[in-house]
Structures are given as structure tokens and as C-alpha cells.
């Protein structure tokens, strides 16, 4: 891993590197593309896999003017809080409260769109729209596969069973005792949850999730495998 090239650095990459990760450069950061064999990783997605997407872009805003401004950008805003909507560009927009939004990228191809909107917000300085640097405040993991909700049941007290927690629902809760935003966003037919939590707790949370996944033979996968189902 050549961290000298990237200005944005994910401390978790040391852990990924120890597990054999191969990195690619994206969004001025490095992200684990795979851990040796992307094909095997793709197979594990059906059962259980965890992917570190922290290097991808994300951004948020809040304030009384935020909903109107977001809608003025032709983005689709959920009508209720704690819901999310898949955008036409493949990204996800979650409404965390009536006046707070989170823009989440999950693809390399569109990795800059939250950044672009962040830039637009800084330029336009819309009234009562307050920028939230979610890429630096939160890590982002994707927990994917049939056993993803079973795994979450070992670390989270909210009922996230697939029959109870609908696709694109959002829970702002505690995962392994750290605050987290959990968004269900199935990838094609594969159950999938985004877990965003305090960036400084990323290593702790990753370790807890990997530990909880052992029971279901879950494993870490890189971006290559994850993108095969997005």
C-alpha cells in the first residue's frame, strides 16, 4: 500500500493490508479492491460479506432550508424521516430527520456526486442549509448477504429482520455500542445494509462485525466483489 499517494487515508487499510488486500485509488483515497480472489469474494456475497466503503464519497446537510434546496437539485427526497431513496444516478439519499439529509455513494462510477453537491452548497451558500462532512465524520461499511440481518442481531438492539425492516428503511441506533446509521439497501436481490458510524470507531466496529460474522462463515470482500451486485 502506498499511502504517500493519497491525502485521505483510512486507518483500516492497515488491517485490510494484513488480510492481503489489494488497493485501488479512488476519490483521493485508497480502497481495498479485493483480498486475493474476487471471484470467491463474489460467491460469499450471497451468504454474508462485509465491504469497507469508507473511501467512497458521502455528504450531508441539514437546516430549515435543506429539504427545499435538495429538491431544487432534482434529487428525490423521501417524504418521511428514516427513509431513503435510490437516486437515478445509483446513489442513495437518506432523510435522517425532516431537516437532515445524507447523500451516499456506492459505486465507483458515480463516486464524486456527493462531493459535487457539497461543492455546489459551498458555492451557492443557500440560506439555512448547513453542510455536514459525512466522509470525515463517518466510516461506511456494507454488510451483504442472506445472514446480514442475523449478524446485525448480534450487535444491534433494533429489529432489523428483513420482514420487519423494509428495503430503504433507515435506523439511527447503536451498533456494538457505537452510534450508527443503518440503511437497508438491497443490491439486486441480495439483502444489504449500509452501516455508517463514527470514523474514529471504524476499526473497533469492523472488528466487531467480522467477529459476529464468523458464525455464518462471513468474510471481508473488496469493492470489486461488491460492485458485481450493485
Amino acid at each position: 500500500m502506498n499511502t504517500a499517494k493519497a491525502t485521505r487515508r483510512n486507518p483500516l487499510n492497515r488491517l485490510h493490508q494484513a488480510n492481503g488486500a489489494k488497493f485501488i485509488h479512488i476519490n483521493n483515497a485508497e480502497i481495498a479492491a479485493h483480498y486475493g480472489n474476487p471471484a470467491i469474494e463474489e460467491q460469499s456475497l450471497n451468504s454474508l460479506a462485509l465491504c469497507d466503503l469508507s473511501a467512497l464519497s458521502r455528504w450531508g446537510c441539514k437546516g430549515a432550508g435543506a429539504p427545499a434546496w435538495i429538491e431544487s437539485l432534482s434529487l428525490e427526497l423521501p417524504l418521511q424521516a428514516n427513509k431513503s431513496v435510490l437516486q437515478s444516478n445509483g446513489g442513495l439519499l437518506a432523510r435522517l430527520s425532516m431537516e437532515e439529509c445524507l447523500l451516499l455513494d456506492n459505486t465507483v462510477s458515480n463516486s464524486e456526486w456527493p462531493n459535487a453537491i457539497e461543492g455546489q452548497c459551498a458555492d451557492e451558500y443557500p440560506e439555512r442549509v448547513y453542510s455536514l462532512p459525512r466522509a470525515d465524520s463517518h466510516c461506511c461499511f456494507a454488510l451483504v448477504g442472506e445472514h446480514s440481518s442475523d449478524t446485525l442481531a448480534k450487535v444491534c438492539g433494533v429489529d432489523l429482520r428483513l420482514a420487519k425492516f423494509a428495503n430503504y428503511d433507515v435506523a439511527q441506533t447503536s451498533v456494538a455500542r457505537v452510534n450508527a446509521i443503518v440503511i437497508r439497501a438491497d443490491q439486486k436481490d441480495t439483502p444489504s445494509f449500509y452501516i455508517l458510524s463514527d470514523l474514529s470507531s471504524a476499526e473497533f466496529l469492523w472488528t466487531c462485525l467480522i467477529d459476529a460474522m464468523q458464525e455464518f462463515d462471513g468474510c471481508a470482500v473488496g469493492l470489486t466483489a461488491f460492485q458485481s451486485i450493485t
Partner: protein, 975 residues
């Protein structure tokens, strides 16, 4: 020894006769079958003596065969207190009896019971605490002769973890009521969890005798179990112990190595009832057991519990037991019925009479006597009952090796009472009943006072329908199910307690408590049942009063002239049954936070320390060189330049048209006139005028402040900000961005040179970037916020950058600073540096009473603005003289032990203050510190007497603060 006493199939539903297993007990080899417990396999080998009692070392054997008593405690390899009637055997298992001296059969302390008169309840409270210090001498002896198993301190517990489960309906207990309720709830559309502590579903259907032919229980069991299995929405958990009921239907369930945290919309407690022993002389002898225990041994383990049996009946279940014994080939000499008349309508009674068994009504077993080997029942003395707890003066002795007691039940109330249910006593039925159930909890079956199996099944349907109705899945059923057949007449004998002149009528088997012990506790003045428990230890043993609560309540009621209902039982608290610490501790989560630069610190040799959830570098270097390293770090900051990671500092964005007004109300200083591009010290007090946090407020734009807070205090500050603005409703947005921004403090005379090497879009010149100035710029390509602050008393810059850029920022600064002698410094050096400059740390130099004047920070409090949080109180405090002041001191005697935090300041014998900070100052060459002292002593030149380590009194001289660079020339260095 071999399995020579097994009954033929269909007895033995729990065992697999095809799989023989060898195990050891007390070093001797025994044979059993797969599915056997240690107790059942030993019983099959004719071994009935399992343990010695806690206090008198009396021989003990099976009482419940259900893991509900302490008689079967044995020492297993990894379990100091395993229950032999629950512990499955496996090949190679080796268990030992416990609490013995010598052998189990001939325990050397077995004669202790002979002197029991001299060992009454509370004897050690009275006898061994005087003269002072005597208990320490006695304690090892008592610990040797009492006590349970031994902990294997080398044992490494297996992996344990926890999991949440969610269901519409959770049913605790998979007996007939639980299974029927599960079926009904599942049919109604609910997702159901059915859990039972046993491996087999069925509860009492697995052993009870319901009809003369002995077929009904199995038929019902097969039918209901099959239906449970056919319902796809029922999840069954076997060997799953519900150990706690908490608010809002939160159940703690232990299964295997996992603690399940189960949430249920509706809970159905179908937990049954626990059979109770009769209280008579020697009722604890091996061979004396509950009727349900004998039934379990036969039906589940194919073991005949004896050869010659007597049944003591206080209800009709005694006759069911007698029939089962007869069918198993056990000779039943008599059924001794406590009742004046037995109910001849009861079919099983007629069957017993048809088998020519002698039925003796109106009599009781007055005493049990051991046989030849003293460790097992040899005979019982049966006497006529002449009154409440009274018998005729003589009776009949009947030889026997088995006495089965069927005298009544207590509903399994513990889980329900944990949730606030009320346990009442029905004097007519002599039975505890439950009422005031927690919300969304139903009960069914014998725990609900319904006894006949047909009524139980109806009751289960009613309870399930009630739950379904609450879930919006069905109609509300009509009322309580009446239980009106012969089986459901009074199941409890009203007073199966018969004192004996020689005592040894045990109320509590765990603690060897006899009738007199309970009565004497009340005579010693401990009349309340809670006090009786604590004084006598009744109910405090491993079985937690399961078999003593009813008898104790009855005896206390009698002794205190109250009703049993008034007396009640002691409080039921979780856990219901024993659980391992590993279950509670296993896979606990201890969040750990790391800054983006964390691994750079590790790579540079940092010794990391915890600061709240955060890891922070304490110092860089080997632990054995700690002080040298810290002092070198201090020296380097003073002489060259140092870099410290301050990412853990709290950060809040306060934005909006009212941002300045908000801060003006929130902090003690004035902020309305603060220019853009300037930082201002922000001291926070609460409504009581107590200092609770500090930081700096940086005005980035007219409507945008970036405010820092202490590492430990940021959560509270953020919460207080939200709370106050909920009241003030100012047009302002508050965001906690602590993690989003990492930070470093670049400090030292060369710090500007280092920055100049990296930054070309900010004028770093002292005139254009003055002390307490704030700028936004770019360092090594990273957008940063630059704050000119002086916490450590040198020219310094706090640089805040996006968190993910922290490591790159660190690298850039270290590289650029190499030519200027830059070194990282840790928290320990920072503490010394700030102390030399006289800066306080909130939480270390303040306490829950510190106001700004006491800590010499009146300068940070505006006296002109109309309001701030705590302002009114501070105004009042200012009207009175100070009681104490935080003063600086130096210690000139370098050989004196350096005082530590909280060491006392003395005036003769009187404590007049305390040290809050103290360290050796490398810069000044002597120890310096801060201490709260009376105002009169806070003047420079005064001498303080500090009681340092080892009680050494150290003289310290009060000096003006700061200790270092009072003109603050160092932070204006313009190199």
C-alpha cells in the same frame, strides 16, 4: 459398575440405550446411557448419595431431579457447582462430590449435626466477632468446613456472545400449556418463540401420570408436539433458560454459550409450578424425594427410584405417583394421606385401592430414619395428625427405601415477580397465586392455578387468544378457565409441617435451616420475611428459596401472628437460575476510538493511554525511560518545536444568523463583538455557576463559529447546547463535528517556520495572524483551519483538518519540521507544559463545586452582558467571600516526594485543601503544582504543608501564576 437397574422401554424417553457411556464419580467408573444425567446414571447404578449438605455435612441425594435444588451439586472439571441432575454424562467425564472431608460416605464432619444446638442461626454473628480481630482467625476454618465447589482459576472460558431476538409472541415453558399456546398463537398468525430449559418439549407430559392406564400423557404429548413441529412460524429453543424478565418484555435467555436478549410484543409465561417438600424430621435423607422426581427418574431415565416405597400425599398426585411406582415394579407399602378423606372420585385413587395398596388418611410421616449405612432412608414413622402441625404421641414404623412427597406446589413466580407481578396467598387453597401481571404478559397452566391437563390446554388457548387480540390478530376471549374436576381440588396440603423434638425438619435444604431456625429468627426480632431471609440465610442458597419460600412464609406467619398473605415471600430478582459470568461478560463491546494519526504514533514508539474512549499517545519511548522521554519532549517544545495530536478535542459547528447570540448566552465571555477571524476563550458554567468545560470559539464568518470543547466534555457540551437552544429557539444550527475534524498542536519557537514551509495561502506573520487569530488555508494540499493558541505557553498553532487527512497532515508537518528539530510529544508532556503556563484542565483542576472565581478565571466572565448560563448564580457568589482559591505552588526541596493529585494540604491536623495538579517541571527544575487552599493562603509567599506520598509532609511556597513566561512573550516569538 453397570446399568443394572433400568426399567424396560417405553421407560427412559430421555436416554439412548444403544449408546453406553463411561464416566467417573469420586474416582470410580460407572456406566450410563447417552441422555443420562450424572444423577440418573448413578441412580441406575444404585448410587443415591450425591453430596454433603452445606452446614452439617448431612448426606443428600436427589430431591427434584429437575436441577432445582442444591442436593445434587457436584464438582465438574470446569464447573465448581454443577447440578448432577442436569449435568449430562459424556465419555471421559469425571466428577467429584464436594464439601466433604475424607470420603463422601464417611465424611469426617458428618457429626456436626449433633452439635447443631450450639450452631443456631446467626451463630457466627454472635460468637466469632469478638474480641476484635477474631473473625480473621475463624474465617479460614469456616471456609474450610462449609462452602461449595472450587473454581478452576486456570480455566479459560469458551467464546460466549449475545444476540437479540424479536418475536410477536414469546412463550416461556414448553409444557402442555406452552405448547398449546404456541400452536394457538401461530394459528392466529403470530411469529412465535417457544423456549424451554429442558432438552425435551412436553414439560410434565414427559413424566406425569394422568390416567389409570398411563397412556394419556404420552398421547397428548405426541399430538401437541407434532402440531408444534408442523407450525412453520414457531421457533423452538430447547435447553434455553429464561433467566430474567425486564421491562417492556425484554427477556434474558441463556442457551449454550449465548445470551439471547429477546424482545416480545406479547409474553406468555407457561412456566408451571414447583413441587414442594413436606417438613418433618430427617426429610432430607437420600431416598426422600418429591413425587415428580420419582416420576422423572422412571419415565425419562428408566430408573426405579427405590424398591419399597411410601407415598406421602397431600393431594391426588400422590396416587398418580403410587400407580407409576407400582407399574414400574416398585412395592408401595402405603400411601399416607394428610387429608382426612381422600377423594374416591379420583380415578387414580381407585386404581391404587384396586392394587391393594394401603391408604392411611389423616396421617403424616412424622420422621424418617436412615437404614444401616446411615446414608439412605431405612424407614418412616407414620403418625396420626391431631392438629395443625401436631401428631399423636406414637405411630407406626414402616420400613422403606423410598419416600415420595406429593404435598403441594408453588407457582413458578420468579420471572413474573421480577416484572412486578404480585404473589398473593389464598388461605382457602393454601396456595400462592399471581396477580397484577406486567403489561402484555399472560400466564397459563399451573402457574395460573389451573391443574387438570384438559383445563390447562383450554387456559393456554385463552392466554394465546388474549395475546393475539393485543396484537390485533383476533377477538378477546371470554374470562378465566374454570378448573372444576377432581384433579383440580386443593393441590396444596394446608400445613405439611411437623416439628420434632430432635429438630432436623429442614425448611431450607441449601442452608440446613430447620423449623427452629426460622422461628428463632423471628424471636430475635427479625420478624419481616426479608429480615428473616437475611438473618437466617433462608432462600439465599443455590436454589434461591424454590423449596423453602412457602414453608418459611407459613412458619413466619405463624410465629408473628400474621397471615401468610401478609407475610409474603422475599423479592425475586434476576437471574432465575445460576448463570455464568461468561454469559454476562461474553462479547461485551468496549468502543475504542482512534484518530487518523493513531498508527503514526505507534510507529514512532508512543505508549498509548485511554482518554475516555480514545487512544492517545502518553509519551514516545520506552516505559522504563518514561520520565526522561517526557522531560525531553517538554524541552524540545520549549527549545524547538513539538507536535501533539489533539484530534480528540471536541468540535462543534454553530451556524446561523443567531450564532453569536447563542454563544453569548451559552458561554461566560462576550461573543457579540468578536471579530471574524478571531478565536475567543470559551468558559462554560452550569446553572449553579460551576465550571464544566472550556474551549475556544473561532468566528469563521459572521454566522459561523467553530467551537472546541474538552475531550471528555464534548458530549455534555453538545447536549447542553441542544437543550438550551430548545428553550431559546434561536435561529442557529448546532452540529457535533468532533470526529470530522482531526487536529494537531504545533508548538514551539520554530512552529511558524514549519508552517511556512507548507502553507502559501495564509499570511503567517505575527502582525497579520496574531495570537488568538483564526485562518482557513491549505497545508500540503489539505484544507485546514489554523488557530493561533498558546495552551502550552509557546508560539503555537492548532491545525484542524478533515479527519481522513490526519495522517497526511502529520506526515507533512513532521517532514517539514525535521530541519527545525520537530519531535512529537504526548499527553504527559502537554500536561506539564500547560501547568508551567498555569493553564487549568477542566475536570482535573476543577470539581463539582468550582466556580470561575475560585480558579482565578473571573477575567473570562463577562459582567456586562444581560444573561449567560450560570450568570445569575455567579453574580450571587460574587457577593460573598471566596472559601477557597486554586493557587500555584512550587517545591524548592527537590528531594521531597512530589505530591500527587488529591494529596491533602494541612494546617496542623486539619485538612484545609487539596492538590489538583503537580509535576516536576523540567523548565523550572523543580516540582510545581496547583492546589485549592483558603484565600488567606493563596497569596504569593505563603507556605503550604502538603501531605505527600508515605505521609511525608512537604513544604510548598505559593507563587503567582503562571510559573513560566508571565509576560507571555514566548507565544509572541516572531522567528
Amino acid at each position: 459398575m453397570s446399568n443394572h437397574q433400568r426399567l424396560p422401554a417405553p421407560y427412559g424417553t430421555a436416554i439412548d440405550r444403544q449408546q453406553e457411556i463411561s464416566f467417573e464419580f469420586d474416582g470410580q467408573s460407572y456406566q450410563g446411557y447417552e441422555g443420562d444425567t450424572v444423577a440418573s446414571a448413578l441412580a441406575a447404578n444404585g448410587k443415591t448419595l450425591l453430596s454433603r449438605s452445606f452446614k452439617y455435612h448431612r448426606p443428600r441425594g436427589v430431591l427434584t431431579m429437575a436441577g432445582q435444588d442444591a442436593n445434587t451439586l457436584v464438582q465438574a472439571p470446569e464447573n465448581g457447582n454443577a447440578l448432577a441432575d442436569c449435568l449430562p454424562i459424556h465419555s471421559g467425564l469425571s466428577v467429584y462430590s464436594q464439601n466433604t472431608w475424607g470420603s463422601l460416605e464417611k465424611d469426617r464432619f458428618r457429626f456436626l449435626g449433633l452439635v447443631s444446638k450450639f450452631l443456631p442461626v446467626g451463630f457466627y454473628y454472635k460468637a466469632f466477632f469478638k474480641p476484635r480481630g477474631m473473625w480473621e482467625k475463624w474465617a479460614p476454618f469456616f471456609r474450610h468446613i462449609t462452602g461449595l465447589g472450587r473454581i478452576d482459576e486456570s480455566h479459560q472460558p469458551e467464546y460466549h456472545d449475545k444476540q437479540y431476538l424479536f418475536f410477536d409472541v414469546v412463550i416461556v415453558g414448553a409444557g402442555p400449556a406452552g405448547m398449546q399456546a404456541a400452536i394457538q398463537a401461530a394459528r392466529g398468525g403470530a411469529e412465535v418463540l417457544l423456549l424451554d430449559e429442558n432438552a425435551q418439549l412436553g414439560g410434565s407430559l414427559n413424566y406425569a401420570r394422568l390416567d389409570p392406564e398411563g397412556r394419556k400423557a404420552k398421547r397428548l404429548s405426541d399430538e401437541i408436539r407434532g402440531e408444534v413441529q408442523s407450525q412453520s412460524t414457531i421457533r423452538v429453543m430447547r435447553n434455553a433458560l429464561c433467566n430474567g424478565y425486564f421491562a417492556d418484555n425484554w427477556l434474558a435467555v441463556v442457551q449454550g454459550n449465548r445470551l439471547y436478549k429477546v424482545r416480545a410484543a406479547q409474553v406468555l409465561m407457561c412456566v408451571g409450578a414447583m413441587e414442594q417438600p413436606a417438613v418433618f424430621h430427617n426429610n432430607d435423607l437420600p431416598g426422600v424425594m418429591l413425587s415428580s422426581a420419582a416420576l422423572r427418574m422412571m419415565r425419562q431415565y428408566a430408573v426405579a427410584p427405590g424398591r419399597d416405597a411410601i407415598v406421602l400425599a397431600g393431594n391426588n398426585d400422590g396416587y398418580a405417583c403410587a400407580m407409576e411406582l407400582l407399574d414400574a415394579g416398585v412395592n408401595v407399602s402405603a400411601v399416607v394421606d394428610l387429608r382426612e378423606r381422600a377423594n374416591l372420585k379420583y380415578p387414580l385413587l381407585k386404581s391404587v385401592l384396586d392394587r391393594n395398596v394401603r391408604v392411611i388418611t389423616g396421617h403424616t410421616v412424622y420422621s424418617a430414619k436412615p437404614g444401616k449405612n446411615r446414608n439412605h432412608l431405612g424407614s418412616v414413622e407414620v403418625r396420626q395428625i391431631t392438629g395443625k402441625g401436631q401428631c399423636a404421641y406414637s405411630g407406626e414404623t414402616i420400613p422403606c427405601d423410598l419416600l415420595c412427597m406429593a404435598v403441594g406446589y408453588v407457582p413458578t413466580y420468579q420471572l413474573l415477580c421480577q416484572g412486578g407481578a404480585q404473589l398473593s396467598y389464598d388461605d382457602e387453597l393454601a396456595l400462592f397465586t399471581l396477580s397484577n401481571l406486567p403489561a402484555n404478559v399472560q400466564i397459563a397452566g399451573s402457574v395460573n392455578g389451573v391443574w387438570s391437563v384438559d383445563a390447562v390446554l383450554m387456559d393456554a388457548k385463552r392466554a394465546a387468544d388474549t395475546a393475539l387480540h393485543a396484537l390485533g390478530m383476533g377477538d378477546l376471549p371470554s374470562g378465566h378457565v374454570a378448573s372444576d374436576d377432581a384433579e383440580s381440588e386443593a393441590v396444596n396440603a394446608s400445613w405439611p409441617i411437623f416439628p420434632h423434638p430432635l429438630g432436623k425438619e429442614f425448611v431450607d435444604f441449601d442452608e440446613d435451616l430447620q423449623i427452629a431456625d426460622i422461628v428463632n429468627a423471628t424471636r430475635d426480632g427479625f420478624e419481616h420475611i426479608q429480615l428473616v431471609k437475611r438473618y437466617s440465610t433462608c432462600g439465599m442458597g443455590p436454589s434461591q428459596g424454590r423449596h423453602s419460600a412457602l414453608a418459611a412464609a407459613r412458619l413466619v406467619a405463624e410465629a408473628t401472628d400474621k397471615t401468610v398473605a401478609e407475610t409474603g415471600v422475599t423479592t425475586a430478582r434476576p437471574p432465575f437460575a445460576r448463570e455464568t459470568i461468561a454469559h454476562n461478560a461474553g462479547r461485551s463491546f468496549y468502543p475504542a476510538r482512534r484518530s487518523n494519526m493513531h498508527y503514526r504514533h505507534i510507529e514512532q514508539g508512543a505508549q498509548m493511554m485511554h482518554a475516555g474512549d480514545w487512544y492517545r499517545p502518553a509519551y514516545y519511548g520506552a516505559p522504563e525511560q518514561r520520565d526522561v522521554c517526557i522531560n525531553a519532549e517538554v524541552d524540545n517544545v520549549r527549545a524547538n518545536v513539538g507536535l501533539v495530536d489533539v484530534s480528540t478535542l471536541g468540535g462543534m459547528e454553530v451556524r446561523g444568523p443567531d450564532a453569536a447570540e447563542f454563544l453569548n448566552r451559552f458561554y461566560t465571555f462576550g461573543f457579540l463583538k468578536q471579530p471574524v477571524g478571531r478565536a475567543r476563550y470559551a468558559l462554560l458554567t452550569n446553572e449553579a455557576g460551576v465550571v464544566i468545560d472550556d474551549g475556544v470559539a473561532c468566528r469563521l464568518t459572521e454566522h459561523h463559529y467553530y467551537v472546541t470543547a474538552t475531550t471528555g466534555g464534548v458530549g455534555r457540551v453538545y447536549q447542553q447546547m441542544l437543550k438550551w437552544n430548545a428553550q431559546w429557539r434561536l435561529d442557529v444550527d448546532i452540529a457535533n463535528v468532533t470526529t470530522a475534524w482531526c487536529g494537531v498542536n504545533l508548538a514551539g519557537p520554530a512552529s511558524r517556520k514549519v508552517l511556512n514551509a507548507l502553507c502559501d495561502d495564509v499570511d503567517l506573520n505575527a502582525e497579520n495572524f496574531p495570537y488568538m487569530g483564526v485562518r482557513e488555508g491549505t497545508l500540503a494540499g489539505i484544507k485546514c483551519r489554523l488557530l493561533r493558541v498558546g495552551f502550552v505557553g509557546e508560539l503555537g498553532f492548532e491545525i484542524h483538518a478533515p479527519q481522513q487527512c490526519g495522517e497526511a497532515l502529520w506526515d507533512a508537518l513532521m517532514n517539514a519540521g525535521a530541519q527545525f528539530g520537530i519531535k512529537p510529544f504526548g499527553i504527559e508532556a502537554q500536561r506539564i507544559l500547560r501547568l508551567e503556563k498555569g493553564h487549568i484542565i477542566i475536570g482535573q483542576d476543577t470539581d463539582a463545586m468550582s466556580n470561575p472565581m475560585e480558579v482565578q478565571m473571573a477575567w473570562a466572565v463577562s459582567t456586562t452582558k444581560p444573561f449567560f448560563v450560570g450568570g445569575r448564580t455567579i453574580e450571587e457568589l460574587n457577593k460573598a467571600p471566596l472559601n477557597r482559591v486554586l493557587a500555584g505552588f512550587v517545591i524548592e526541596d527537590n528531594s521531597a516526594p512530589v505530591p500527587k493529585e488529591s494529596h491533602l494540604v494541612l494546617d496542623g491536623e486539619q485538612m484545609i485543601g487539596r492538590v489538583t495538579s503537580c509535576n516536576y517541571s523540567p523548565t523550572l527544575g523543580k516540582p510545581i503544582g496547583l492546589a485549592y487552599v483558603p484565600p488567606a493562603l493563596a497569596r504569593a509567599g505563603k507556605t503550604l504543608c502538603i501531605k505527600s506520598s508515605g505521609g511525608v509532609l512537604v513544604d510548598a511556597q505559593v507563587v503567582e501564576l503562571p510559573f513560566y513566561d508571565p509576560e507571555s512573550a514566548r507565544q509572541e516569538v516572531n522567528e
